[in-house]
Symmetry: C2
């Protein structure tokens, strides 16, 4: 596998609206997508756009607020009540090839590929197999490139 | 303040050489800088380059291994023994303007600006003031842009 672009950094927050205000008023964000509910993960989600080099779009911040106490993000917030960096998401050209790659190395894939917040297939890998990082692998959206 | 580029994601690791091998062999990284010691933070450091859009350089992963038990990263690893995402670093055009901005909002700046791993001035902000994220602010290297 060839290292892909870091699509986003997932940040868990206890209050999405407060986090959006923080990114606008403290960090100076000017482009934040409209929040929506991602039922498969039991989270309300939006993306903060950051600039890349030479006028390109940079790595986004994905803000995640749990919508139920059973959400994996709710469980994570129990031990990180202020919120914080929850996962890192890398792009790959083909989700099934990537799944085969990580499985061939004995890495634990958490569930089957499913549609993620950007509308393309994703899966997560166990942080203990991934240098301590909960790692999301996401098929690159076709329309963006 | 206007939101700047995410220069890097700081990832604390218990073993830098093992982490470099992980990024090469599992994640497929092909460009990793030579490790060096950053005395001011008591860490050994290197950067994993990731691709951005349209052939640009993307957000880097900064790997941090403590060089002494007194290193802030050593203390962090006590509660995260496998390592993981430690901080997020945003670029700003002027470090002193940025310091004044965050202080005017009552955000706790951790120490005076000092020279960071990219050779430009940096400071850190307290995670409890920054939506749970230990946040590094870094003056953009002049030569890169």
């Amino acid at each position: 596998m060839k290292l892909g672009r870091i699509n986003h950094i997932g940040v868990a927050v206890p209050d999405l609206d407060a986090a959006i205000a923080y990114y606008r008023e403290v960090m100076g964000a000017t482009s934040i997508t409209e929040p929506f509910v991602l039922e498969s993960q039991q989270v309300r989600v939006c993306f903060v756009d950051t600039p890349g080099l030479s006028g390109t779009s940079g790595t986004q911040i994905e803000l995640l607020e749990p919508t139920s106490p059973q959400s994996p993000v709710a469980k994570w917030l129990e031990t990180h009540p202020f919120g914080g960096q929850h996962h890192l998401c890398y792009e790959v050209p083909d989700i099934h090839e990537a799944k085969n790659w990580f499985e061939s190395l004995g890495k634990r894939v958490l569930g089957d590929p499913r549609i993620g917040a950007h509308g393309t297939p994703i899966f997560f890998l166990h942080p203990k197999d991934m240098a301590g990082q909960l790692t999301e692998i996401m098929e690159t959206p076709k329309a963006v490139h």
